[in-house]
């Protein structure tokens, strides 16, 4: 076979590289030795510390106050109630909310009042939001997400959240563990309650209404709908209260807020004291009837929108 000058050069280069040893080249794996798998620091292992440093915070705050706020005002027309209930709270808190849609997080991030708004981390499903490197980075940067294990019991998530609370960060958690599959809520898990007891911080229950019509599970494109975010009175675990019991109390508080949003505060308080607040999880009936029953929920009119001042 005839050789050209170019192929001769490539062959010469190869032999030169071949003669270079370690450390210019990777050391060969000794026979019989199993090499370790490269660690991909994703899911619960993803380190989000960079997203809480000042440059990332500035970027996020700018996005929240401009793009996110504008998009939410167009898509969700939010009405924000009960922020005055936070006036007596000082320091970090845990916000717990029902969860219908991907719109819930940006809606809350633009609704949570100062001084918590830009010092809040969002507990996000590690297996969903932190599955890829790009997705993890976006979740950490845009919504200040931290990975929370929801498929197995692990201490890493809880330790991270507890450390952040100790550092003065507030935490937003959706204790249902995922978006509603059918428009009704799901029972609250005990993670938020456990964290509140462990760190002795107040929990602010929040009810979100209306986002199920914007971007519910299984939908890819959002549609516009009016929404209501109702903040409740901060709750502290009582002496000796177990996480499971506190979680039930939080669920009841969010359900009462849902009643308040759908009807009015006085009826909601009456039903809450009588133990007859409509639950978050809906009636225990057949699937189609549960969907049918969703139609009964609606918000009555509130403050009149006056387009022209009364003279």
């Amino acid at each position: 076979m005839a050789t050209t000058p170019l192929t001769q050069r490539i062959a010469r280069l190869r032999s030169m590289v071949g003669r270079l040893g370690f450390p210019w080249r990777a050391a060969p794996i000794p026979p019989g030795v199993e090499p370790p798998q490269p660690t991909r620091q994703l899911k619960a292992e993803y380190d989000t510390a960079w997203a809480r440093r000042y440059p990332a915070r500035v970027v996020r705050a700018s996005l929240v106050e401009t793009v996110m706020r504008f998009v939410m005002s167009v898509v969700a027309s939010p009405s924000r109630e009960g922020t005055d209930r936070l006036s007596t709270v000082d320091g970090p808190v845990i916000f717990v909310a029902n969860h219908h849609s991907h719109a819930d997080t940006p809606l809350l991030l633009t609704s949570i009042p100062e001084p918590w708004r830009h010092r809040v981390v969002v507990g996000a499903a590690a297996d969903y939001f932190f599955a890829t490197r790009l997705g993890s980075a976006l979740a950490a940067l845009l919504i200040n997400a931290i990975p929370i294990e929801r498929t197995k019991v692990g201490r890493r998530s809880a330790n991270l959240a507890a450390d952040l609370l100790d550092d003065g960060w507030s935490v937003l958690i959706f204790p249902e563990g995922g978006r509603s599959p059918d428009g009704w809520g799901q029972p609250f898990r005990g993670g938020a309650a456990y964290l509140a007891i462990r760190c002795n911080v107040p929990v602010v229950p929040v009810h979100i209404a209306g986002t199920d019509r914007i971007l519910r599970k299984g939908h890819l494109l959002p549609s516009r709908s009016s929404t209501t975010v109702t903040f409740g009175d901060p709750l502290l675990a009582t002496e000796g209260e177990h996480a499971r019991g506190f979680a039930s109390r939080l669920e009841a508080a969010v359900a009462a807020l849902g009643d308040e949003a759908a009807n009015d505060w006085w009826q909601a308080r009456q039903r809450a004291h009588a133990g007859t607040s409509p639950g978050l999880t809906g009636p225990d009936i057949g699937a189609w009837r549960r969907v049918w029953a969703l139609g009964d929920r609606g918000r009555r009119s509130r403050r009149r929108r006056v387009l022209w001042p009364e003279l």
């Binding site: 009960g82 005055d84 006036s87 308040e260 505060w265 006085w266 809450a272 004291h273 403050r303």
Partner: protein, 538 residues
């Protein structure tokens, strides 16, 4: 959160003015004046710094409801299903300026309703106890009781303004031994329990005055809102020496004897009117403690106010919401509760002062109880200066008998025609005839009080009752009979003369004019505000 406050609030004190004393900031309506007082014979009464607010106001409210004062059961024991419950609350005239959300009334009413819900009470009405004041607008009611309570009750007609001229809504429950008819809101009279939610800004508020004035009408009010009562109230900020309060206490007894059960909830606020930080915080600092930033802010504000039209200035000031904090809350039997409340008001306001003065100076602000979101017309200037500020004393008036009061206020010849229609006629017709309170009372009061048009506007628009300007004038009757002359600095000359006072361009001119009455080298005392204070004169 850090708010830059002192470790312990400093009490008020009296500054003797010398050559080195700085000019003093005088309120002057929607503006300010810097006035240099004569050295060696002037003094300035400085208010105490704001007391610390309760660290857990909601917890304190709940504690007060469960641990009442005096002869009263805890609130939960007074509530039962199928009862009629009426919650009455102070109107827009308190506090001043309106406070930041959440208003204290909202906190208290929510706590009360929460206990009522637990007890299974269904029949609840909420009434703004405004007597003959103007009705509160939706926004004002929302601000007072909060959106949650408003949305739950107002659309069903269960939250509304008291209507003292509703023939079907008022009832006469009896008469005091002094022959004073006691008229009362019918719904409240027929309720199993009336809960009154009060905010005490000054010592005049609260006690039986809350219900016996707030939920009544002209039939009752004419017995204590008159010249004779005011001349015998020295002062009406000191309940024990106030004929006004004595009448209200007598009426309170009639209410109790008629079976009206009242659970009184009273709260006090500190005097943090303009905040410890923020753009107006310098106004409640002592002048020599202003930082460079305070001085720059003040100068910038003065320049801004100079070029702003009056309406815009009013708008700007009316948006200010005071960061008041609750310093106490007590609940239970009316008189026992009010004793504690008054002690807490005095704790904030009283400043010991030795001896009276020849000339009392005061700078009046842009707001008084009757012009919230409105215009401070000349009659209200008189009422605020000679009614409220003059009466902010315990013991003896700050100014000696026959002395001079010098007021600083623009006193514009302007009225809000929606809020103060009868004031316009009072100013144009009554004051053009006479400024003597006794003569005005005899000659004009009944006609204005019973005027159908004024009654219609009071019931259906947002107007003060036809008789209200008379009460404003009577409020100053004690001062008018006590002092030798009233001078207004920087006021509209025609308006000031219509009030029967003397106009002056500058404080120096006013002091010169006062010399004609009190003689040369008079002593001068300046009642510094903001914030509010009350002189304990010995």
């Amino acid at each position: 959160m850090s708010n830059g406050r002192h470790l312990a609030p400093r009490p008020g004190f009296v500054l003797d003015v010398d050559k080195n004393s700085p000019p003093i900031v005088f309120h002057h309506g929607e503006g300010f004046r810097l006035e240099k007082l004569p050295a060696g014979r002037s003094r300035v009464i400085y208010p105490a710094e704001p007391l610390e607010g309760l660290p857990d106001p909601d917890g304190a409210i709940r504690h007060a409801l469960l641990n009442p004062i005096g002869d009263s059961d805890p609130l939960p024991a007074l509530l039962r299903p199928n009862m009629k419950l009426t919650i009455a609350f102070d109107d827009i005239s308190l506090p001043l300026p309106p406070m930041r959300r959440p208003d204290i009334r909202q906190r208290v009413i929510e706590a009360v309703l929460d206990i009522a819900a637990e007890a299974g009470v269904d029949d609840v009405h909420l009434i703004a106890a405004l007597a003959l004041h103007r009705r509160m607008t939706e926004d004002e009611l929302r601000h007072a009781v909060g959106d949650r309570v408003y949305d739950a009750f107002a659309p069903k007609g269960l939250l509304y303004n008291h209507d003292a001229e509703d023939p079907d809504g008022m009832v006469v429950l009896g008469e005091t031994p002094h022959g004073e008819a006691v008229q009362f809101n019918k719904r409240a009279a027929e309720s199993d329990l009336v809960i009154y939610v009060n905010i005490n800004l000054v010592a005049m508020d609260g006690g039986h005055k809350s219900t016996a004035t707030g939920l009544t009408g002209y039939t009752s009010l004419r017995h204590n809102h008159n010249v004779h009562t005011m001349l015998n109230s020295t002062s009406f900020m000191d309940r024990d020496k106030s004929a006004l309060h004595a009448s209200n206490w007598r009426m309170g007894k009639v209410l109790r004897d008629a079976g009206v059960k009242i659970f009184q909830i009273e709260t006090t606020v500190n005097n943090d009117t303009f905040g410890r930080e923020g753009p107006l915080s310098m106004l409640q600092k002592r002048e020599w403690e202003w930082s460079g930033r305070d001085r720059a802010s003040f100068l910038a504000m003065q320049q801004g106010l100079k070029v702003m039209p009056t309406n815009l200035k009013r708008k700007a000031f009316s948006t200010w919401l005071a960061p008041y904090e609750m310093t106490s809350v007590q609940a239970g039997e009316v008189e026992a509760v009010h004793e504690v409340t008054t002690a807490n008001v005095y704790r904030q306001h009283l400043v010991p002062v030795e001896g009276q003065t020849d000339i009392l100076t005061m700078g009046l602000p842009y707001i008084c109880p009757y012009n919230v979101n409105s215009i401070m017309n000349p009659i209200l200037v008189m009422c605020l200066g000679l009614g409220y500020f003059f009466n902010l004393y315990r013991g003896r008036p700050l100014v000696r008998e026959g002395g001079v009061v010098i007021i600083s206020h623009p006193t514009p010849w302007e009225f809000n025609p929606v809020h103060h229609p009868s004031y316009i006629d009072f100013f144009e017709e009554v004051l053009a005839d006479t400024t003597d309170p006794g003569e005005i009372e005899k000659k004009y009061e009944k006609r204005f009080a019973e005027d159908e048009w004024y009654i219609h506007l009071y019931r259906n628009s947002y107007a003060y009752h036809g008789v209200h300007p008379f009460y404003m004038w009577y409020w100053g009757a004690h001062a008018l009979s006590h002092v030798g002359r009233v001078i207004i600095v920087g006021g509209d000359t025609r308006a000031v003369r219509r009030l029967g006072f003397q106009p002056a361009s500058t404080l120096a001119d006013a002091l010169e004019m006062a010399g004609d009455v009190v003689g040369p080298q008079p002593t001068i005392t300046h009642l510094k505000n903001p914030p509010l204070l009350m002189a304990d004169v010995t």
